[in-house]
Structures are given as C-alpha cells and as structure tokens.
Symmetry: C2
Subunit: 331 residues, 2 copies
DNA sequence: GACAAAGATACAAACGTTTGCACAAATTTC
DNA sequence: GAAATTTGTGCAAACGTTTGTATCTTTGTC
C-alpha cells in the first residue's frame, strides 16, 4: 500500500505538503498540488481511511439504526439516505434492532465506538423512552430521528405529515361522492396514527360530515375484515384505513359480502405498499414517501442536525378502490 | 474519552499490559486482568476502534455491496448476513450500486479504502464481467458472492438451488394432476433463469411429459398476461413461472378470460414475493430464502471465504393457485 | 543456593495521517 | 530599501492502540 510519505519522497517534498495538497488546502501552490495529484494517481495511492480517522478523531461513516432492514419502508429510507450521504463522501453503517431495546443499546454503542460522525435512527418498539440514546451518544454526536421519534430529545426529527395526509385522503373520499365515511385508525399510542385520526376527523368536519365509524384496532388484514363488515352493517359507504393491510382485509371482506368496489364502497389505505398496485381492484393509498424521508434525514445530518422537526408531505395515490365517479360514469 | 493509558496510570502499570488484558491475552496474570477490567468499567472505558484498526491494519467491518437495498430480496439477504456478523462482533457497511458498473467500482473502492475485513456482494446488471472486482480488491481481501455470481472469480459463492427448485415446482404441478404444463422462463442470459428452465424440463421429462409451451420473455406482469392467453389457446392447463410478477399477470389474464384457478388452470411462481400470499387466489411460489442466503454468505466469510459454491435449497410454498386436487374434491 | 525455565510486565516502535507552529521566500507597503 | 505582509513548505507532535523484544520476577530443579 502506497502512503503519502512515499509520494513525498518521490517528489522531494514532505508528507505534510502532500497531505495538504490531497485535501485541497489553499496553502499549497497550484503547481505542487498538481504534481502531487499526478504522482498519487501514478502510484495508485489511496488514502488510508483508518489513519485519517484516528488523527481526525472521527470517521466518515454515518450510522443508521432501524428496527429491521428487510421492511420496504425502512430499506427505502436507508436507500434514500445512502444516496445523499454517498454524494457527500460518507458511508453508511447499518444496524438492526429487531425492535428490541437491548439490540438498540448495542447498536448505539457500536456506532459510538466506531466514532461515526452521526446517527440517523428510528427507535424500536421495545424502547419505551429515549433516555438511553443520549446516555450512550453523549452531547456531541449529531442525532437525527425519523418516523418514530422521541420529540423531547435534541437533534433533528423528520416525520411524515400524517395529519395533512389523512386529511387529503379523507377529502378525496368526500369529493368522490361518498358520504358515510369511517376509519380504521390503528394504534393510537403511536403519534403517527393519532395524527392520521385527527386529519380524518378534521376533513369530515370541514365537509360538514360526521365520522360514520372509528375502529381503533391494530392494522392487520383480520381486523380490517371485521371492521369492514361492521361498517357495512352500520351503513358506511367508505373507509379511510391508516394501514394498507387492514384495507386489504376490508376489501376482501366487502367483496365476499357482495359489495362492489368502488361503486358501492370506497377505500383508501396508507403506506402505498407495493401490493396495493397489484390487487384487483387496486388500492388507493396514502404514500409514506420513505426515500424522501431518508433523503431529508441525511440532509438534516449534513446541515448539522439542529433541533427541530421537518415535515415531509405525503402523496395520495389514487387507484381503483376509491375511483367512484369514474366507475359510475362508465356504466 | 478515556484511554488505555489512563487505565494504566490509575493502576500503575503500562498500556501494553492493559491492552493485553482487555484483549484476553494469556500473557497477563488473572489478578491483573481482573483489576484492569474493573478499572475499565469504573472509568467507562471504550476501545477506540479507529486506533485499533489502524494498528491492526484492518477494521471489524464487513462490506456488503448490492444493486439496491430497497428490494425485499436484497434487504433480506443483508438482514440475514447482519445477524450472523453482529453475533461475531462485526459490523456491516452497506453500498448500493443502483445496477450501475460505475457505482459498483466506487463502492468497492470505498470498502477497500475503509480496509474492511471482507466483501459480500451481488454484482450489478451493469457489470458484464467481474475483472474489476479483483482488480480493486486485490488478492488478499476475502470475497463472497451471492445470487449473481461470477463463477470464475476466487472466493465463496452462495446460490439458490434453482434447478432443484424448479424441478420441485414442476413436479408439484404434475402431482396435482395438470398435464399440459408450460413455463414463463425469463431472461436466459442469467444463470439462475437458465437453471430454472432446465429443472422444469427435467421434471417433465421424468414424468414422461413434453413442455407444452416455453416463453422466454422478461418476467413482468405484461408478458405474463400475453403468454398466459397464448398458453390457454394452445391447450395448456398449467404454468411454472420463473417470476412472481409474470405469474400475477398470467392469473389476471386467465381470470378475465373466464378460466378458474386452480380448477381449470394451475400456476406456480418464483420468489415468494410478499404479495403472493395476499392475492386472490393466493399464488403458490418457489421461495428464494434470501435470509438464509445472507446467513450462509456471512458464515462463508467467517469461515475464510474459501473457493467453492454453496447451494441453498429453495422451498416450495403451496397456496391456492396450484391446489388442484383439493379444489376439485371440495366440489 | 545457584541456575535455568517460565511467567508477567515494561519498553518502544510502529500504523499513516493531520495540523499548529515555525520558518523561509516572495511580494507588498510606505 | 527596510519593514510588514503574504505565500508556500517543513518540522514534529500528536491520535490510541498493538506487538516484538527486552527485562524483571517468580518458580522449579538439582
């Protein structure tokens, strides 16, 4: 492995100058800089990152901590963050917590030990509060939280605009002509779901309507089925679901009950999971935009991870399951 | 940040002994070792990984290079590998190539510069051959390839048993009573798809049957639709698809053409994408087992990444789309 | 009790880079 | 034209760990 010392010897100058030349310091003459660059290329020099890190006291690595990487949402966030960070010459060290507090602690310690230049994370379900995070990271390490955030911690927080998103989704159902609209609201102990419910209610209130039904169960297909059948009995003609999986269950149940979608019943889900486009009828969904969440998180880190919340808009993807007007017209 | 030197001073010994004590060298007395450990805990010492890496000439980081992280297959591989590597005290540095040759080169350089202790990768579509990989990594760096492998490179290769898997899937269709079986074979310039076609043919040959049709298009829903309609016209009653998306398209087309699945027509896909379980009818699929691929890749690295191929079995997940016998019986 | 062998620790030199400070040369200022 | 400023480079000390070799201490052996 060729070092800056060898380059220096080859050119009859000192390692310091070579170092400065390579890092583009204004303190070295243009001609020397050029000579160094040429020599470096000639010898196939590559900076020893470990030595550099040691001297500088930090690495060019950003740690990302997520519950699981093999979830489309998280992997897309990572993908987005990685793109931005790579562009800035930084690499990404990934840790999974498997939703466990212990693994989260271990991951943060690993990152701290590797002297990463910052941490971007979404905490695990197992972490009931966030005190351990600052305990491990200390006061210096830049911290960016996304999606699942402890709002009382220092640093930047990047979240979807769940209120506005749910508001838009619900308005869409109203505009399509549905009038008895209910919701599958999901776990209300999560801030995201609570905001979606608020957005739903506000949209109806602004339209002069009452919520036709509110189901606070978890958002899996089974609860979707049960809620949809109940909603049908109580005269609902549309549902906004805070998750796609519960919306899927709802559609199946409604179809089996002989209800036509979107003619008789409209549904909008949330998350824009890949299967939503593949179903029949395809499912309208409020997209979470995870890549953008990742990009913004990375950018927030690059900008210094200052305290504050950045809100990323959600996009409503309209598909067959809520396309009431057009379905009616075609008949 | 507390260093081994401070621990040494506090105990009146030298940094060397502290270092050895912390790394569990047999050359230090049990009592000293214990004293060091206690003092280290007391002062909250944490090893400076960068200094350690510099001295040792390598890091405790393994690089993983994949085309895209936000694909279920790759993220699951990473997840599996990460689990095993973490267990062994190693961290994971992730790079995406976005299927581009240039990004792959850049990623490998980054890893090389970070002096990772090994590379686990699946090459991008843009890499027509693998010479650049060894050019960058040199002769020393342990290399493990998975799924998309250049077989002529040194190091370990972990691949699915595509032949055996397709064989099993096709046999399953035969056992269910279908007799005019075709295939959506996919891109044959990829080794995986070529092997699946071979497995398909062998299974039919062993059952004394002829392939009823073979479609060599890419495996997207659209080609699946077209192929399925053609297959129906030419008297097929089943298809093995080398991808789930083409199988999805096929099912939709067949349903629209009035064919009942699985009563009139059976289908098995490949990859076990998450949507396969959510469809109606649900799609039988040959699972790729990416987590296991990841685990095996990590293990192969830990074992020294010796030359050779490790073949991971695929699992056939039987769902409604091929459940001919039971569907018939129920009537 | 002397001497060898082993056991435990100390010494010191790396690893390759960065960076504050010093210094020399070139340029500007009055 | 001397002093002041700028510009470019060299010197040397870090950064904190690891590890080969040397040294000291203990134990064992005859």
């Amino acid at each position: 492995m060729v070092t800056i010392t060898e380059i220096a010897q080859a050119l009859g100058i000192t390692p310091s100058t070579v170092s400065r030349a390579l890092s583009g310091s204004p303190r070295v003459k243009a001609s020397t800089k050029e000579a160094v660059l040429r020599k470096a290329a000639e010898l196939g020099y590559e900076r020893n990152v470990m030595a550099s890190n040691l001297r500088k006291g930090r690495s060019d690595i950003v740690g990302i901590v997520v519950p699981r990487i093999n979830r489309e949402f998280f992997s897309s966030v990572i993908s987005g963050a990685e793109s931005v960070l790579n562009e800035a010459g930084l690499s990404v060290l990934i840790c999974q917590t498997h939703e466990r507090y212990e693994d989260e602690v271990r991951a943060l310690r690993t990152l701290k030990n590797n002297r990463v230049s910052g941490v971007i994370m979404s905490h695990s379900i197992g972490s009931k509060d966030g005190t351990h995070i600052l305990e491990i990271l200390g006061d210096e390490m830049p911290l960016v939280q996304f999606d699942r955030v402890f709002s009382y911690l220092r640093g930047a927080k990047i979240v979807n605009d769940n209120f506005e998103g749910a508001y838009k989704a619900t308005c869409h159902l109203v505009e399509e002509g549905y009038r008895h609209i209910g919701t599958l609201a999901g776990y209300l102990n999560s801030a995201a779901y609570a905001l979606r419910l608020k957005g739903f209610r506000r949209a109806l209130a602004d339209a002069g309507l009452e919520p036709a039904a509110e189901y606070m169960d978890s958002i899996v297909p089974e609860t979707g089925r049960a809620a949809a059948l109940d909603a049908l009995r109580s005269g609902c003609d549309a549902l906004y679901s805070a998750g796609d999986f519960s919306a899927l269950g709802a559609i199946r149940a409604l179809q089996e009950a002989g209800s036509r979608i979107p003619e008789d019943f409209g549904i909008v889900g949330t998350a824009n999971e890949s299967f939503t486009a593949l179903m029949s009828p395809s499912l309208s969904s409020l997209a979470l935009n995870p890549r953008e969440l990742g990009r913004q998180s990375a950018q927030a880190f690059l900008d210094g991870a200052a305290d504050g919340e950045i809100i990323v808009p959600m996009e409503l993807v309209i598909r067959q399951s809520s396309n009431h007007k057009q379905a009616i017209c075609q008949k």
